[in-house]
């Protein structure tokens, strides 16, 4: 559910309008972090999340800058505004975290996920599976006379829909990456101007 909030960004650090904090609706936010790519950093983030009982729908991590040893973590989480603000503040105080950004709050962002979907079927169901694959612009990356492995990319809803359609056709297994997300527009991530991947 998109956030209906059109109030301006925080006026100063920590300042969140009371009306927002008292809103008891649950929203889904995509939060991105740039962290030092050091041993245990994922355990730090996931341990914080589980230890404090936050609801995490997706968490992905991968190195994004080899020279500066930076990784990016994308987290999709649901909660009230107060909880979302708390998640961000808690993540922000981890020592290896460079920056925390709420992509949902900061304007439009795009998020994609990749899924590998194995379907075992024969006869008419094979044709049906291939037709659905075409509609979703998925790729067939492995096939046997009794099965397909599809590769499908899109937002979480699209992948959910694809998997739902494959279920009656003989869904055997799915493997999903979780989301990678990025803000629309020209601006880079780090507020110190050093965007990851900038030659240092």
């Amino acid at each position: 559910m998109p956030h209906p909030d059109d109030t301006p960004q925080s006026l100063y650090e920590g300042m969140v309008p009371l009306a927002r904090l008292k809103d008891r609706h649950v929203y889904r936010h995509v939060i991105a972090l740039v962290v030092d790519n050091e041993t245990g950093v994922l355990a730090r983030v996931s341990g914080l999340v589980s230890g404090r009982g936050y609801n995490i729908e997706s968490l992905t991590v991968a190195e994004i800058d080899k020279d500066r040893q930076l990784s990016r973590i994308n987290i999709a989480t649901s909660g009230t505004r107060q909880v979302i603000e708390q998640v961000k503040a808690q993540l922000g105080r981890l020592v290896p975290v460079h920056e925390v950004r709420d992509l949902t709050d900061e304007g439009p962002c795009v998020a994609r996920e990749l899924a590998l979907v194995k379907v075992a079927c024969t006869g008419d169901k094979r044709a049906e599976a291939l037709k659905t694959c075409e509609i979703f612009r998925a790729n067939v990356i492995d096939t046997t006379p009794q099965s397909f492995v599809f590769e499908v990319v899109g937002d979480t809803d699209k992948i959910d829909a694809f998997i739902d359609l494959m279920r009656p056709l003989g869904l055997v297994e799915t493997s999903r990456t979780g989301i990678a997300a990025i803000a629309r527009g020209p601006a880079g991530f780090l507020s110190d101007g050093l965007s990851p991947n900038t030659p240092s």
Binding site: L11, Y12, E13, G14, M15, V16, L18, L21, K22, D36, T39, G40, A43, R44, G47, L48, G51, Q82, E85, Q86, A89, Q90, G92, R93, L94, V95, P96, V97, H98
Partner: protein, 597 residues
Amino acid sequence: MTARAAVLAESEADTFMSGARLILKALEDQGVEVVFGYPGGAVLPIYDELFKQNRIRHILVRHEQAAVHAAEGYAHSTGKVGCVLVTSGPGATNAVTGLTDALMDSTPIVCLTGQVPTHLIGNDAFQEADTVGITRPCTKHNYLVRDADQLARVIHEAFHVAREGRPGPVVVDIPKDVSMGQGRYAPPLPRGAAHKTYRPRTAPDARAVREAVALMAKARRPVFYTGGGVINSGARAVAALRELLALTGFPITSTLMGLGAYPADQDQWLGMVGMHGTYEANLAMHDCDLLIAVGARFDDRVTGNLAFFSPGSKKIHIDIDPSSINKNVVVDVPVVADCGQALEALVAAWKAETAPRPGLAGWWRQIADWRGRDCLYYEQKGPVIKPQYAIQRLFEIAKDRDPFICTEVGQHQMWAAQFCGFTRANRWITSGGLGTMGFGLPAAIGAQIAHPGALVIDIAGEASALMNIQELSTAVQHKAAIKLFIINNQYMGMVRQWQEMLHGGRYAHSYSEALPDFVKLAEAFGCAGMRVSDPARLDQTIRDMLDTPGPVVCEVAVDPRENCFPMIPSGKAHNDMILSAEDAAAKRITGEGLALV
């Protein structure tokens, strides 16, 4: 730096040293004077290096938990970082309670742990534990050093992280092959140099300060609610708080951890807030129209039932940790900053603010009315000493000697908080957040080591005292002349109180069965021991305890039935307090309150 020293420093940077020497040199350059520790196989090279030098003093404890608590006592009483050295495996796991305690109370600690050699990590080697894994959730940050070249840099960074921002414990796990290896030294970063990622905001945003002062200027029923953050921030924060209070004339209450930042002998002081806080402090929190929280975190012991917490007030919250803000209670004006800098900014802005201000006379009349209830009243009559009386007399007799007061956890801790009127910061050392029984005795030793000539008293219950009683041996060995003042009511008093109020008086396992003879116990350790049960003899016994050199154990036999009041029962609001035993009978705890701790 002289030319010779510069040359030496340069040559030192180029020469290889053993890992253990690098560790000691890094500690020296961090200004460490005392390390609390316990040796073992994985830290033998570090102990060997300790043996060869005289600059850093090592205090041998009798249990690693006590090493961390002693370092906490050292840190709370000095404002410096406490330093701990323990071995791998059980050494590290025994330290976990202390580390968690330090995390909850924002105490700056650097704990060096030994680890099995790197090639054995993950192989279930003898005395191996996944120390960074185990301590990740109970430290502010932790490190595993895999290369002797990184040792000095990591230790310097550990001190930086422990000290800056909201302080906390940091673990540096050092495999034995690293402390035995060779590496190059790296000097500490200059004070104030920015860390790559950890840069807590310390200066308040000017807009936040403006909004805060605007609210303060029109408040009719304001109250300050201050916490341990003011004391952690240091002398500047304490001075600025006192100045701001003098300028505004507002009333002030404080959390358990914040006692002493504002002098308890001033008229503006309302006493402690919270579950066992005073009637006037809790009602002021409930009825105020402006709540100014400074370095406090709206803990559940303070707020009571959040749904009814201070319902009619605007709230300003000053805290260096952004995650403390809006965590439990949503606030109108957050000020993310060091308490000292924020309070100084408020002082300056308050002086510049010239708008007419409403008078506070009505608010003070209301407060005087609440004070009239005399909520800490108890009666000392008959042949048995009341625990409140013992603590009140102790503080009365000791206060002119500027004592450091430590406590364990339970009823005696709350009575100490209620009856010791601290006038200075860093004199009150207690386990607030974690509530660790067994904290006080080692903490007292740490404070005494830091202040050898000072009077350091641990107010304890007989149950808590036994949790780390082995540390009497540490006190004797290191000539730490602590005074262990045991309030013996023969029960885990707070457990008994809750069983009485919540579980129909079924005192399951809260009776202190088979207690030792504390006088003989003290003597067995080489301490002086004394006991008193007659109210008429109490003052003289306390004087004897204070005047006896060396560590002393003084057991005070008190009324076993006394309960700690006032009390906000679990699940209740600030304006629904129990003031006395009769009151408790009328206000049974039911429903959701039963499930709360």
